[in-house]
């Protein structure tokens, strides 16, 4: 009898917590599960995403992640494929099989070329290779949420600049800004990581991808940023992109 009551109680707690999770989704605070066995990296990701306003939970291994996935619901799972006690792809299968309503961002070593294909084939929303820049990770997660329309609106406003991510348009004081594809991506990247210093490497990697030696692309990064700033200020937009001692860039803004 006592056992039965205890079981009921546990079930009750479980259901309540599930309900609470659902409510979280409604109040726009995204819930993210970070599955990554490296404690330091885990902390960094958690720290970074928390300051973006996400609620983060952390799993250091496969079993823990499995328990958490079965017990709670998340908006997004950051999933490292190589775990000490299992393969992250199996967790991805579990998510898809259980029809769990969460996006999955797969993380793996850059050389595991086939992991990328496998991950995307299994239904992962995006794929990022280690080592990554936190700003890049943030941009990827935001992009996933944008695609799933979880944040509800497609227009981001920063000072007097409006970015419509659905139409891929930028307007300054209501008039359309003529940007190249790369300049648009650059601006969106800055906005996504606003009020943070973004390194030149991460910008280069964001714009030109994985497989180039990025070091000599810095001139191009500089050139692109210069052009972007010129275009914005010419249209009367706020010059909120700041250069941080040759280390990187920072978009200053009061959020709106």
């Amino acid at each position: 009898m006592e056992d039965y009551l205890y079981e009921r109680l546990l079930l009750g707690i479980l259901l309540t917590s599930k309900l609470l999770q659902k409510q979280h989704a409604y109040c726009k605070s995204m819930k993210v599960l970070i599955v990554e066995d490296q404690q330091d990296l885990n902390d960094d990701i958690k720290h970074y995403l928390q300051s973006e306003g996400y609620i983060c939970e952390v799993s250091l291994n496969y079993n823990d992640a499995e328990d958490k996935l079965l017990s709670f619901s998340y908006d997004c799972v950051i999933l490292d494929i190589m775990l000490p006690d299992g393969n992250g792809l199996d967790l991805l299968r579990l998510i898809k099989k259980g029809k769990m309503d969460c996006s999955v961002l797969v993380v793996s070593a850059k050389n595991a070329l086939d992991d990328k294909l496998d991950g995307l084939n299994l239904g992962a929303d995006d794929y990022i290779t280690k080592p990554f820049h936190l700003s890049e990770l943030n941009a990827r997660i935001k992009a996933i949420f944008r695609r799933r329309n979880l944040e509800g609106h497609s227009i981001t406003k920063i000072e007097n600049i409006e970015i419509d991510t659905e139409k891929m348009e930028v307007r300054v004081e209501g008039s359309l800004l003529d940007l190249t594809r790369k300049e648009y991506e650059l601006l969106l990247y800055f906005v996504t990581n606003k009020n943070r210093v973004i390194s030149r490497q991460s910008v280069a990697e964001h714009l030109w991808g994985d497989y180039t030696d990025n070091l000599d692309n810095f001139d191009f990064v500089y050139q692109h940023v210069k052009n972007l700033r010129k275009k914005i200020s010419k249209a009367g937009g706020a010059d909120c992109i700041e250069t941080v001692y040759g280390l990187g860039y920072k978009m200053n803004s009061s959020v709106s």
Binding site: Q38, D40, L41, D44, I45, H47, Y48, M82, A109, K110, N111, A112, L113, D114, K116, L117, K130, P131, F132, H133, L134, S135, T180, K182, R196, V197, S199, Q201, S202, W208, G209, Y211, T212, D213, N214, L215, D216, N217, D219, F220, Q223, H224, V244, Y245, G246, L247, G248
Partner: protein, 419 residues
């Protein structure tokens, strides 16, 4: 050449030589015996006739028997010893032509008379013997060959069967399938030994391969993770308030970490390529991939102020690994941009047989072929890892492409031939 045909050829050669030598010896022996017998016969005939005459038989009665011819000689003339002659003579009837004729003569003094007794006989000529011998030897050779043919069929079907299945197993052995070779039980002890050896070897190869793979994967994970941590912490540090001096240190650290990370990734990719972890078993539309890569690099080309022309045949499909093709194209194009000169030129050409990427650039300091080696850079101080071309050449090997790098008239030209 097949083992069994090689064995057969050797056997035929040896048999032929043995038959030739044997035939020669046989010929000599037969010739000797035939001659000896014929001579002995003549000798007996002559001496028998002389004996008969001595016993009183009339000369007329013994003449003409056994081709005996008797002439009477002057009694005073000295007695002649045996005279043997080997000539050609007409064999009656005439139509048969000339034949070998041996004759023997001797004179005897019997009583008070002196007789010269001679006789002859036709014997086989040497070339007749050779002809007969060759005929029979050829028949023997024919029979031998027939037996040999049947035998080699049986040998290759039955005796060599385990060997052939072992060969097939070796051919089909694939590291990636992670299955050791499984060979049928052989009854021949040599083949049993071979099969045992092969099975053990394949197990060891698989084990070594797994260890190597584990090592590279572990190394990848173990090195990438701290690099990620360093990068993460640096990003955190950047978010704090820093002064210009600190920023310059951090920038240097970031560059170094980036480079470390690039080198590590490139080396691991090379290891995996060498381990043949990727198989070129997919249809890849290289025209599409090339166009995508060129779009991605378009701005870099423009910003460098490079002249760019391309001639890309649409819908070229090759058998390859898709991601590897992407890496190859990306490396080649970024190389062509990076190692270009001011107001330079890039040319890209693709058809179903080959890809050619040309760019203007400074004269190479080392032979162009050397640049495929790891860490070999034209300019040792340059910021690149020096692994890009090694990766490209390794990718070409994995996908069965051939690559050629040449330089002339200030133009670097890389040609990748598919199949």
């Amino acid at each position: 050449m097949k083992l069994i045909s090689k064995l057969t050829l050797w056997y035929i050669a040896i048999t032929t030589i043995v038959l030739l030598i044997g035939g020669f010896i046989l010929f000599k022996a037969i010739l000797y015996e035939v001659d000896r017998e014929a001579q002995r016969k003549l000798y007996i005939w002559v001496s028998l006739t002389a004996e008969q005459i001595e016993q009183g038989a009339p000369v007329d009665s013994v003449e003409h028997i056994n081709n005996i011819k008797i002439n009477e000689l002057d009694f005073e003339a000295p007695e002649q010893p045996f005279v043997f002659k080997d000539t050609m003579g007409i064999f009656p009837p005439k139509e048969y032509g000339e034949d070998r004729k041996i004759s023997l003569s001797k004179s005897y003094k019997i009583g008070d008379r002196h007789y010269h007794i001679s006789t002859y006989s036709f014997v086989a000529e040497p070339d007749e013997i050779i002809f007969g011998l060759s005929k029979s030897l050829l028949v023997i050779l024919g029979i031998l060959l027939l037996i040999l043919g049947v035998l080699s069929l049986i040998i290759s079907r039955k005796v060599l069967a385990p060997f052939n299945s072992a060969l097939l197993a070796i051919k089909n052995f694939d590291l990636k399938q992670k299955e050791p070779m499984l060979l049928p039980e052989a009854r021949t002890s040599e083949f049993r030994e071979l099969n045992n050896f092969l099975e053990k070897m394949s197990e060891k190869v698989l084990k070594d391969y797994r260890i190597l793979k584990e090592f590279s994967e572990n190394a990848s994970h173990e090195i990438q993770t701290p690099i990620s941590v360093i990068r993460g912490k640096l990003e955190m540090l950047m978010a704090t308030s820093i002064n210009e001096e600190q920023a310059s240190y951090m920038s240097a650290i970031q560059n170094a970490v980036q480079k470390l990370s690039n080198v590590n990734q490139s080396l691991l990719l090379l290891t995996r390529l060498e381990n043949r972890e990727y198989s070129p078993d997919q249809e890849v539309n290289i025209s599409e991939k090339l166009n995508n890569a060129l779009v991605a690099f378009h701005e870099l080309i423009q910003m460098r102020g490079l002249d760019y022309e391309s001639n890309i045949e649409p819908e070229v499909v090759i058998r390859a690994h898709p991601t590897l093709v992407e890496i190859m194209l990306s490396n080649l194009i970024s190389n062509a941009i990076r190692h270009n000169i001011k107001d330079g030129r890039i040319g890209v050409e693709l058809n179903s047989g080959q890809l050619r990427i040309e760019n203007t650039g400074e004269d190479p300091m080392v032979p162009t072929g050397e640049l495929f080696k790891r860490f070999k850079k034209n300019n040792q101080s340059s910021e690149s890892t020096g692994l890009g071309l090694s990766i490209v050449s390794q990718i070409c090997e994995v996908n069965n492409f051939t690559i050629d790098y040449s330089f002339g008239n200030g133009i670097h030209s890389i040609v990748v031939k598919f199949q």
